[in-house]
Each structure stands twice: as structure tokens, then as C-alpha cells.
Symmetry: C2
Subunit: 192 residues, 2 copies
């Protein structure tokens, strides 16, 4: 019954939108109920573990999505430069050019909930390592590749925050445009 599966994915997509907009604490069950169109009792039917389970499943969903659309392509066939450019295009789609915030950024702030921490950590690490792998493939030193990959992921996260905070969506576009060069270009690392 594929219809049922699609239905749950639809719910998760709505949940994803809410969590990335409001964070965990800001995503109240009332909001969730309203924006999913499901009553609270129905939500607990689908997610007996309540809001925590919803968050965990959304993160799992994001992890799968990332694996499929970022990690696998980066590790697959194609020229490194093209793979990086594809990634940037995917990121741009994913965040709608900076219009949408980042789920990870929205959910990290909370002190408690060690449950997610491992999920979030894994998502980021996998992504960083996939980028670094492409750079190594491109001929960059492994250590330098890791550093650049970390920088790139940090810059994407930061760009989303600064864009959201300043309301200047053009900023996101500018930073994304420079990403491929940041990653692939030769850098001296020395101050003149």
C-alpha cells in the first residue's frame, strides 16, 4: 500500500517545515495540529512518542534525503568540479535561495534532547566527509580538504542564519555563488 507510505511522508514534510521554522520548543502541538490538519489525538496515533518522536523521525527523514541528494551524488561518478556545482545547486533548491532556514540550525540551540544530538552530528559529519572526499579526488591534500569542507558547511549554515536575520536574501545567493571557488581554488594560506 504505497498510498499509506506517501501519506506519512506528507506528514513528515509538514513537520519538517514547522520544526525548521520554529525550532523544537517553538513547535507547539497546537501549531503542528493546525498546520498538518491533524487533530492532536491523531498526531499521537501516528507518533505515540509525541513531539520527541516527531522530531526524531523528521531528522531521520532529513538524513535519508541528504544521503540520497547530497552524499551519494558526491561519492558517485562525475567530475569533482561538476559534483560540487551540483551540490551547490541542490543546496540552493533545498533552502529556496535562503528563504527557508535550516532545520539543524533551528534545532541545535536546545540544551537537552541528547536524542537528536547524535543524529544531527552524523548528518553534518557525513556531509563534511563527502565534500572532503570530492576535494581529495580533485587533488587537494586530505587534511586541507577536510578543513575546506568544514568551512563550506559552516558557511552554508551561517549564510542561512545571517540571511534570515538580515532579511537580505541576495546575501545567500552571493555566498553560494562563491562556494565552488572557495572549495576548489588554490589558496596560499599566507598573509601578505
Amino acid at each position: 500500500m504505497p498510498a499509506k507510505i506517501l501519506k506519512r511522508e506528507e506528514i513528515l514534510l509538514r513537520l519538517f517545515a514547522i520544526f525548521r521554522r520554529s525550532g523544537f520548543d517553538g513547535a507547539t502541538l497546537s501549531k503542528i495540529s493546525e498546520e498538518t490538519g491533524l487533530g492532536k489525538a491523531s498526531l499521537y496515533h501516528h507518533f505515540p512518542g509525541g513531539k520527541v518522536q516527531m522530531a526524531e523521525e523528521v531528522l531521520r527523514f532529513v538524513e535519508n534525503w541528504n544521503d540520497l541528494h547530497l552524499i551519494v551524488p558526491l561519492g558517485g561518478k562525475g567530475r569533482p568540479k561538476q559534483k560540487i556545482k551540483n551540490m551547490v545547486a541542490t543546496i540552493n533548491d533545498m533552502y529556496e535561495g535562503g528563504k527557508s532556514g535550516c532545520l539543524i540550525g533551528a534545532m541545535v540551540p536546545e540544551d537537552s534532547f541528547i536524542e537528536y544530538k547524535d543524529q544531527i552530528k552524523r548528518i553534518l559529519i557525513k556531509w563534511i566527509e563527502a565534500i572532503a572526499g570530492v576535494l581529495v579526488e580533485y587533488g587537494v591534500e586530505p587534511k586541507e580538504s577536510l578543513l575546506r569542507a568544514e568551512e563550506a558547511v559552516a558557511k552554508i549554515q551561517g549564510a542561512l542564519i545571517v540571511t534570515k536575520a538580515t532579511g537580505q536574501r541576495a546575501l545567500f545567493g552571493r555566498l553560494m555563488k562563491n562556494l565552488p571557488a572557495d572549495l576548489l581554488e588554490q589558496r596560499s594560506g599566507v598573509l601578505r
Copy 2:
């Protein structure tokens, strides 16, 4: 009566710590009461506007702090390169090498509360423009300076998030170490 003034600053410092750790929604009055040592009623004596006023005053406090420790030094005397290095050192202190998160990152996620939005926006824009000013002073094109400044601020914000999310504090140090070069170095902007 300077004692009284210092007392309020002490309260604001505690509030700052709570908000940047938990965000606005996560900072419940119970937590605030507990961590400030003040009863709820006492908190409302100091902040009749409640949690919203607390957040606003904390942001004003941060803005003043930034003006004093970041903006003014960047616009003051000294060699551009040294001023950038000083800024990075200040940032490192400010976030305790990535141990502490960023207030802005923690408070942005919320959809509502337009009250802060302007404050947060102003803090970031002032900072970006101050950095860009130094780069112009260094001889970089104004347009390019602005772009690099945006990138730097985004990278700092992102580094804090990625560091928090992965728990790898070393990452923050690595990224901060490269910041001066990122800002001051000649870049071709062309992919080989």
C-alpha cells in the same frame, strides 16, 4: 550608586547566558528564576515587560558590547591586518573557543517577535560594514570587501553551529585561524 547599575548588568549577563543556550522559547521563567537566583516576582519587578523585555534588553546589551569591543576598534587606529587579528581574538574569547553558542543564532529561529528582528539585523549589519570598512582601508574593492565581510560573519555564525552540533571544538579554532587570511588574501575568484 554604581552598585545598583552593576547589579542589573549582572542580571543581564545571566539572562544572556540563558538565552544563548536555550533560545527564546527554551528560556522558561522557571529556568531564568533558577539561574538568576531571583524569584519570578522579582524578575517582573526588574522587567515589567516580562520575557520579551528581558530579551530586548539582553540584545541591547549585546549590541553595546559589540559596539565597544568590535565596531569601535575596527573603525579606530591601527593597521588593518592587526585590527582583523584583534577581532578574531575577541571573537574567540567571546565564544570561548566555540564552547558557547551564539545568541543571535539561538534567537533567530522564532517566526514571531518582530521586536528583536530589527535589533538583530542592526547588530549584524553594523558588524559586516565595520569589517568591510577595514578591508577597504586595506585596499580591497568596496564591493568585494562587503562580500568578504558577509562571508566572514556567516562563517563565524556557521562555525558556532557546526561546532555545537558536532561537539568538535577544534573545528571552531581551525576556522577562526583562517579568518584573517580569508579576509585579507587576494583571491582570483576563478575556477581552474
